[in-house]
């Protein structure tokens, strides 16, 4: 006989508390007998002071004992008292099936690790008792139940056979925690947590195994050499030159020699041969010169190649686009150094009289004058005259300092200086829809406008090449930020990375609105994400490109390689391993809670009838009864007259 829902200590604690409440109620309510009498005048003569007002006695022991017995029965029913052995009760097991990318690897016999794990799981399914329930948990980067707790072996077997390995790495710690949680909430005694897999997991050294964990290990250890990461970085001195780095790792236990080859536009672009010791990771570097967009493909060939999916990766390289910039100035020699630093600018210098107002698109820069016609492209006004200025001029000041930058605006990115001296400057009134990016004590001197249906405008109330600013390092940065803000597509990322699937964190601007963010997979499906500490975090369980869209920018993440953790979990020796012996549940436990609940109810009913009857209740000598229409208890004593 045992308690199914509660431990004995829990039951005793609950019973003690409930009994204390019942006894306290008795002492408070029933220790003094309540009697209704015709008059109190004769009682005064018989009055004797109460011995001890604080000492109360229980007068209705049978009633109290019946209530305590009923309480005990009901608590036992809640605790599900069962007749029989605890072992005869069906338990709940959780089978963690490793579906990480590494399980696709094949051993020397050519059988994938996942097939071995699946065979072990099916064998386990056949030996568990019929009364035991099993839940199958699919574990890779995110643990997901394939079934609920079920005793239907056909259904469980079908779920096992339909499972396939994914492309993300295993997070066994998360899967074990989830399995424990599922067992706690199942409502039945927890059985075993079974792990069927190769044990290649993240944070293997910090893994704590539960005591009821059983391992169904995959004995095969395949040899594999695979790419882990491909990184591309544009050269700082030559915009057309890409530095390509390919990380390669030997996962096997034998030395291997890997051959890494890259192609761009299906044309060979490089080849390296890398010797790798067991567990060693090395990088192969290449150089690729191109200005055009195209596909960069990296291929790997080695002797131990248990996993195919990490032998090839493809990245999409963006083109280095030209940005037409028309500079309308009487003194082009002053502005040329500022613009020459950008390799993708296609500059045309014209005098103000020949200015075409950006008819070729791109950006037009007006140096200290106002054009007669409206610009056709994004316009930068350098120290415009007061009459006709795009931003109304409030005042002209001299010898003032830039003191304030609009944090969060792209033009002010990286700007910290608060002591830039301006020989002379015009202070603007920031029009509606425009942002005051830089301000002096007197007001804004740099205004950026982005009207809804018109090209962007930037108005500087000072000349960047004036005597005081000419040698300031902040000036080229301001100008670069202005160009990047006006033509973001002309400044493609200078770094590209192809990495493994799994958890990804992408930095976004600090004021990014989560409602305007979107993360989509290659097939257009939206991926769930969270924004935390200025970064978008999401999980991609499949290889492919993931697009992160912000308000006016988009970043593409090539998650093309499978995620393969570096470490293999070294499970403690005391854990159970292999298939258990066949467990037979010959004895069955009998559930007694219905009978106990019935008995408890009957006891309460009997107590109520005997000690607190209703209008037609039986009156027992000496016990309180209720008279009709009075609602107050009186005492009945039948005596022979």
């Amino acid at each position: 006989m045992f308690l199914f829902n509660l431990s004995l200590a829990e039951f005793m604690a609950l019973f003690s508390i409930a009994s204390s409440v019942v006894i306290a109620l008795y002492l408070l309510d029933r220790s003094r007998r309540k009697v209704i009498v015709a008059t109190l005048r004769f009682w005064s003569a018989a009055r004797r002071p109460v011995n001890s007002p604080t000492q109360r006695r229980i007068r209705q022991w049978p009633s109290l004992l019946m209530q305590l017995a009923a309480l005990g029965c009901l608590l036992l029913a809640i605790a599900q008292l069962r007749w029989g052995s605890r072992d005869a009760v069906g338990r709940d097991h959780v089978l963690i099936l490793d579906t990480s990318a590494w399980m696709s690897a094949r051993g020397a016999d050519g059988v994938p690790l996942f097939e071995q794990a699946r065979a072990q799981a099916l064998a386990y399914l056949r030996v568990i008792p019929a009364s035991d329930r099993l839940l199958i948990l699919r574990a890779d980067a995110l643990a997901t139940p394939l079934t609920s707790f079920d005793t239907d072996h056909a259904k469980l077997e079908q779920a096992l056979r339909s499972a396939q390995p994914g492309e993300s790495g295993l997070d066994l710690s998360q899967a074990l925690d989830y399995a424990r949680l599922l067992q706690q909430r199942s409502g039945r005694p927890p059985g075993e947590i079974i792990y069927a897999g190769a044990g290649r997991t993240q944070a293997a050294e910090a893994l704590s195994a539960p005591t009821n964990l059983r391992l169904l290990p995959v004995k095969t250890r395949p040899d594999n050499v695979g790419m882990r990461r491909i990184g591309l970085r544009r050269s700082a001195t030559d915009a057309e030159l890409w530095h390509v780095l390919v990380s390669v790792r030997n996962y096997g236990g034998r030395p291997q020699e890997a051959e890494v080859a890259i192609q761009f536009g299906r044309a060979p672009a490089g080849f390296r041969r890398i010797p790798l010791a067991p567990g060693e990771e090395r990088e192969a570097s290449f150089e690729l010169r191109t200005r055009a967009a195209g596909l960069l493909e990296a291929r790997l060939r080695s002797g131990g190649n248990g996993l195919v999916s990490d032998d090839r990766a493809v990245l999409e390289l963006p083109a280095l686009a030209w940005i037409p910039v028309e500079v309308c100035s009487d003194q082009p020699q002053q502005l040329r150094p500022l613009l020459d630093a950008h390799p993708n600018l296609q500059m045309q210098f014209r005098s103000p009289f020949e200015c075409r107002n950006g008819q070729e698109g791109g950006i037009v820069i007006y140096d200290q004058f106002i054009p007669s016609a409206a610009p056709q492209a994004g316009a930068v006004y350098l120290n415009p005259p007061s009459a006709g200025s795009p931003a109304p001029v409030r005042a002209s000041v001299s010898n003032t300092r830039l003191e304030k930058w609009l944090a969060g605006h792209a033009i002010a990115a990286g700007m910290r200086r608060q002591d830039l001296l301006l020989d002379s400057a015009r202070v603007f009134e920031a029009p509606a829809g425009c942002a005051a990016v830089a301000e002096t004590e007197q007001g804004p001197v740099l205004v950026a406008c982005s009207p809804a249906d018109q090209p962007k405008r930037v108005v500087l109330g000072f000349h960047p090449m004036s005597a005081s600013l000419r040698y300031e390092l902040a000036v080229p940065l301001i100008f670069a930020n202005i160009l990047r803000w006006m033509q973001p597509q002309g400044f493609p990322p200078s770094e590209l990375v192809a990495s493994g699937v799994g958890h990804v964190s992408v930095p976004v601007s600090s004021d990014a609105d989560p409602a305007r963010l979107s993360v989509t997979a290659e097939d257009g499906a939206a991926l769930p994400f969270s924004v935390h500490n200025g970064a978008v975090r999401f999980l991609s369980a499949r290889a492919g490109k993931v697009r992160v869209k912000e308000a006016n920018r988009e970043s593409i993440h090539s998650l093309v390689l499978p995620e393969i953790p570096e470490q293999v979990w070294d499970a403690p020796a005391q854990l159970r391993r292999g298939l258990p012996g066949r467990v037979l549940s010959s004895a069955s436990s009998r559930d007694l809670w219905r009978w106990l609940a019935l008995l408890g109810g009957l006891l309460l009913l009997a107590e109520w009838l005997l000690f607190a009857p209703g209008p037609s209740g039986t009156r027992w000598p000496g016990f309180p009864v209720r008279f009709p229409g009075k609602g107050v208890e009186q005492t009945s004593m039948r005596r022979a007259s």
Binding site: R33, A38, A46, R57
Partner: protein, 294 residues
């Protein structure tokens, strides 16, 4: 239905041979069944007295005048019709106890009313608690008993007993003296002796029927008690044991004796009846013995 609920048929048949008796001599018209010391137009000779101017010449004893040459007047004994009033206690104190005193009192009042109706007495049943309730007058034979039973069945206990107020109202409402039967437990917060004495001094003949439940006289409980006065709502906590029970019973009996003294001192009668005694036994036992009925 009401008749059957109060008194069964066999009991009614037994009541047929009874008559309500009173001891006092009341003036009144002929038609009663109890003799009176007051002279009147009766058949049975009572006494002689000197003739006074204005007396009826038909009553002059002419034989005595011829012999003695003095005018003597013959007086005759009469049996006057005397009103019988029955005060029925309907206060809440009548509801306490295992056997309801109120139900017992209603059955007893019904029996007395039936006896009166059979003997063609005029009965006035007046319920009371704090004040007098609406009376029910009945007379004219046994076939008038059904309304009486309905009236008694419709009564419900309520209120707090106030004998002094009741006595005042009674003497104001009923000027003609007669037999006054009071069926009550005589348990109230105030003393009832003075109001009863007041009624007796007004000229009514008291016939006091005191009812009590066994618990009223001998409380069966022991230990700590929380007592609630059903009429006043006052509470009293005390320890109760056998010794206290003796003192209580003694007090209760003293109270009964005082009520009895009031009745006997004024020429009335007193009957104490526990509710454990059947009504039939009470009628043919204590009440008959006290010559309330004959």
């Amino acid at each position: 239905m009401a008749t059957q609920a109060l008194i069964d048929r066999k009991f009614l048949e037994k009541l047929e041979r009874l008559t309500i008796r009173w001891r006092k001599s009341f003036p009144g018209l002929v038609g009663g069944h109890n003799s009176s010391r007051f002279a009147g137009p009766g058949q049975e000779f009572l006494d002689h007295r000197h003739f006074h101017h204005g007396d009826d010449l038909r009553a002059v004893n002419w034989r005595a005048y011829l012999r003695l040459e003095k005018l003597f007047l013959k007086m005759f004994q009469i049996e006057p019709r005397v009103p019988v009033r029955l005060l029925l206690d309907t206060s809440l104190s009548m509801t306490t106890g295992s056997a309801s005193k109120f139900a017992y009192a209603r059955r007893l009042a019904a029996a007395l009313a039936y006896v009166g109706l059979v003997r063609l007495d005029t009965m006035v049943i007046v319920p009371f608690s704090g004040t007098l309730g609406e009376p029910h007058t009945c007379s004219g034979g046994r076939h008038r008993f059904s309304p009486v039973a309905d009236f008694l069945t419709a009564l419900t206990p309520h209120g707090q007993t106030d004998f002094l107020q009741v006595a005042r109202q009674f003497v104001n409402r009923y000027m003609q003296r007669g037999l006054l039967v009071i069926v009550s437990d005589f348990l109230s917060a105030q003393d009832c002796e003075k109001p009863l004495q007041y009624l007796a001094e007004f000229g009514h003949e008291l016939f006091l029927v005191q009812l009590w439940a066994e618990e009223d006289r001998t409380p069966p409980w022991d230990g700590e008690l929380e007592l609630l006065d059903v009429e006043t709502g006052q509470r009293l906590n005390l320890d109760f044991d056998a010794e206290a029970r003796l003192r209580y019973t003694e007090e209760f009996d003293t109270h009964g004796d005082q009520v009895q003294k009031v009745a006997l001192r004024n020429g009335g009668r007193y009957v104490g009846i526990p509710t454990s005694m059947p009504v039939e036994d009470a009628i043919f036992g204590p009440i008959h013995s006290a010559q309330g009925l004959r």
